[in-house]
């Protein structure tokens, strides 16, 4: 009975976290729409851009957790930039499009649905898992790298970590960290106590840590998950000892300590018990028929985006060329996680 309750609580938390992911503002044409505003319909209701009789070329997005600088205002600037790119506009006209429009998805599932349902989105900045989940016809063109002032911008893979604070029973003194903490022990704590996690659809902050602990043979789905919305929030939850254990993107804790000018050495504040395999950073996908290798419009769009992202200013995101195969491992891990999770649920139900 208690397990049932925990399971429903986890699902409820996942639903709330979806709301957090979708709780973002869209700005276009000088207007700001708060997250509480009614969801825009596709395509006309969600379209923010110059009115035109021709169909608009639609950029879709939600708030990508790994790329916080991608705000609604940032997308509005991108929209303006594309609109002012003569070559791209010419290519749009040739394909029968009028202008560039923006669609803000309400959350993870909403974005997946919009990518699958006609007329769909033409270019999407989406979380890695959303790309793996959707069954629409999209091709990966870029991967987003982290902001270049965080010291992690050379990575296009991100790693998940499970960390505990210095008050947690699994915390090891910095001198005695040569030995690994048994994964089964980590798993037992992970399952039984409140754990701060990024979101139910975060590869580094949920799926990969769970998937890694599944290998111990324990159903490592937290019974008291606390989905915080970002790795920053997870680290703050752990460091402030609101919870003792958390899972987040690797480097987030060091990054946070640096930004808050906390002088204490990181190893004296927390202990990383487990690091997951790398998962790809969030992709930028084009509708497959606009894939750069087969479409002039796709090539023009790729060039424009590359130029837009080339500005080397602090905090700016960078783009890295990528392809579908970079996400194969993540897709596999997700499927396995779903399967194992479902099997364990069925087992518990019996």
């Amino acid at each position: 009975m208690k397990r049932e309750h925990s399971k429903s609580a986890a699902k409820a938390s996942r639903r709330r976290a979806l709301g957090l992911l979708g709780g973002w503002a869209v700005a276009a044409g000088g207007r700001i729409f708060a997250s509480e505003a009614p969801a825009p319909s596709v395509p006309q209701g969600a379209l923010f851009g110059p009115a035109s009789s021709a169909r608009p070329f639609i950029l879709g997005f939600i708030r990508p957790e790994a790329a916080e600088p991608l705000s609604a205002a940032w997308f509005r600037r991108l929209q303006s930039f594309l609109d002012s790119d003569a070559a791209f506009r010419e290519a749009l006209k040739r394909e029968g499009y009028g202008s560039v429009g923006l669609v803000a998805a309400e959350g993870f599932n909403d974005l997946v649905r919009r990518m699958e349902v006609a007329p769909g989105l033409d270019c999407v900045f989406c979380p890695a898992l959303a790309y793996c989940r959707q069954v629409g016809d999209y091709a990966v063109v870029f991967q987003l790298r982290g902001p270049n002032d965080r010291g992690r911008d050379k990575y296009i893979f991100q790693f998940g970590v499970i960390l505990v604070n210095r008050h947690h029973p699994l915390y090891r003194d910095p001198q005695s960290r040569t030995e690994q903490v048994p994964p089964r022990l980590i798993a037992r704590h992970f399952v039984s106590e409140p754990v701060a996690l990024v979101s139910p659809y975060s590869a580094a902050g949920y799926i990969y840590p769970c998937h890694e602990l599944f290998k111990t043979g324990i159903r490592a789905v937290p019974t008291r998950p606390i989905f915080c919305g970002s790795s920053d929030e997870v680290v703050k939850m752990v460091l402030s000892d609101v919870v003792g254990m958390g899972a987040c993107e690797q480097g987030a804790a060091e990054d946070l300590l640096r930004r808050y000018a906390i002088p204490t050495p990181p190893e004296q504040l927390y202990d990383v018990l487990l690091t997951t395999p790398g998962s790809p950073t969030d992709p930028v996908v084009f509708r497959r028929r606009f894939s750069p290798d087969r479409s002039e419009l796709g090539r023009r769009l790729k060039d424009s985006l590359a130029r837009f992202f080339s500005a080397d200013r602090p905090g700016a995101m960078r783009l890295e060329d990528s392809e579908d195969s970079a996400f194969a491992a993540l897709r596999a891990a997700w499927n396995e996680f779903e399967t194992l999770s479902a099997e364990t649920d069925a087992l518990e139900t019996r």
Binding site: S13, D232, E233, M237, L239, S240, V242, V243
Partner: protein, 417 residues
Amino acid sequence: MKRVDRTNLALMAVIALFAVFALGMLFWLKGRFEREREETIAAVKRHFSPAVLGLPDDLERTFRFADLEQIRATLIPHNAYVRDIVVVKRIAGRGERIVLPFEYPLLHADWQARLSRLERHPLSSGDIEYGAIYFDFDNSRLNSVRLAIGSLAVLLVLVLALVARRLHVQEAALTRTTVELEEKKRELVELERLALAGRLSANIFHDIRKPLLNIRLAIEELEAAGQTAEDLRARTAGIRRQVELFFNILRDLNIERFIRGDQAGAEFVAVNDLLERSCALVRYERGSVEVVTNFSSNLPPVFAFPYRLMQVFSNLILNAYQAMGGHGRLTLTTLQEGGEVVVRIADTGPGIPPEHLPRVFEPFHSTRQDAGGSGLGLYISKGIVEDMAGRIGVAATGPEGTCFEIRLPVGNAPSGA
């Protein structure tokens, strides 16, 4: 010197008034600052509602640090009363944890001591305490006001102390002056009495001259030879009678005690008797004045200094005789009205001119200065009567005469007697 003192006192009073006014303003300002501070606290607490911070057993529907930091960034930099806040959240089974700024314990090794110096305001929802806010108040405004209040209060106390000291000094000086005045007044009474005695002495000498002459004549006759024993006895008996007469004159007048100014204490005296003795004392000024007495037969005694009261009566009777110039009628009346014995001394003289009436009891005021009046008789009489808790005044005056009235309280010993 007195003018300078008054100026100083006025200046001090102005400073004290200013200080009181300024203190009032500062207390008002202090109250206002405290009210605004309380409102700020309430406003900050409203921002950290359970919807934002979550309840203790509601960890899954938790807060976001970014939201808390946003609230702090919005509230604190523009706040005149709060320098910073530290927010703690209560978590079921784990106690309280600092959630804003989350790095507080990481930045300050002595964070617990620091926190204990801040002012804690609990956050509650109904009976559930779900956290607390520690306020680091910016008390500079309040402290400035408090300092100003303290300074002004000290100034006010100093000024009041100076005023009190000055008043004390002046009161002491006034007391000294009053005592000196009393002394002078007593001296004046003595002098006036002696002056009266001096004026009476000529007539007394006239009276006692006659028995003395008779004594001398008798002694001369005794010295003459051929006196028989019968003659000798008759002569010595004559001398004894004259000597008795001499003593009788002195005894009747009580002139010796009067001149010595008998300082015996106050006693219950019969006013009628004192009036008769006073009449006898000044009878040499009577001339052919008719004296009419209209005494109440059952007059109660008064508590008074008898020889002083005699001085008053003698003075008034003597004045009446002199006003009438040896002809006329002096009417002495005594009666009781309520709790007072009333003595009226009325003459049939020309009366007091209206222009002199308001000043008859003032010192050195006399209409007979050419006749040897000192101008102190009525003034001193008034002082004596008032010392005995009585009153003296002119009951009536006009061409048909003047009537002085003295009212003395019946029976009870006057205070200070």
